[in-house]
Amino acid sequence: MAVSSRKGVTMADNKGCARPTGRVLGEEVDETDPKETAGKEEPKVVVKVGHKAPDFEAPAYLKGEFTNVKLSDALGHWAMLCFYPGDFTFV
């Protein structure tokens, strides 16, 4: 299943000019040509209360630094994951 929109862009490129993004862990990285997969189904929604939260690894900004975040690093603690529509929005 495709979880990285840019083939070859890895977490290690985090500080370069590329625009890295996150990936869900436990998924196979799809190396096929994007043209061949046009219209392919997106990952299914798997989040349900009472079920495991899908693990992920993603680039993040934290107090002046660029870093990587892995959800499973929070195991053993409680976690609150807050999605929001966008930076510089008003609410």
């Binding site: 993004t21 900004y61 959800l71 409680w78 609150m80 930076d87 929005t89 609410v91």
Partner: protein
């Protein structure tokens, strides 16, 4: 996001690791934090702001809006075993209520501390009456708890 940052101390005291996530890049997160958020929250945002370009995480969490290309306002409470205990998803114009989120976290922590032996009725606040589910309580909740309590 500033509201979450203001509640961060209380969340940390509850052993909650906070993560924020939008489709913006880490570069944009940096400038938003430096130029605006740090003027509302001393020191700026104290938790990681995840860059979810393409909405890969948002899709799997069911909050990605394909039309707008952004993630809805979604909040997930995840327990120490990595299990989602609560979720709330809202369209963009209405903000969160951190007080309610913290109330829920305290309630889930109480239930966990009792190994599921106790349940918290509607509107429960710490110190409030809890219910002990079992055969003796069936049909008898009215005796111990009222919705107006």
């Amino acid at each position: 996001m500033a509201a979450v940052a203001v509640a961060h101390k209380e969340l940390t005291d509850l052993d909650v690791k906070v993560m924020a996530c939008s489709v913006d890049s880490t570069f944009v997160h940096k400038i938003w934090d430096e130029e605006e958020l740090s003027k509302m929250v001393p020191g700026g945002i104290p938790f990681p702001m995840i860059a979810d370009g393409g909405g890969h995480l948002g899709r799997v969490y069911g909050v990605y809006d394909e039309n707008a290309g952004v993630n809805f306002r979604g909040r997930f409470i995840i327990d120490p075993d990595g299990v989602v205990q609560a979720m709330e998803v809202m369209t963009p114009p209405v903000g969160r209520n951190l007080k309610e989120t913290i109330r829920q976290i305290k309630a889930f922590q109480h239930v966990r501390a009792t190994k599921g032996g106790e349940a918290t009725p509607a509107g429960w606040e710490p110190g409030g009456l809890t219910l002990k589910p079992g055969p003796n309580l069936v049909g008898k909740v009215w005796k111990v708890w009222k919705p107006t309590d």
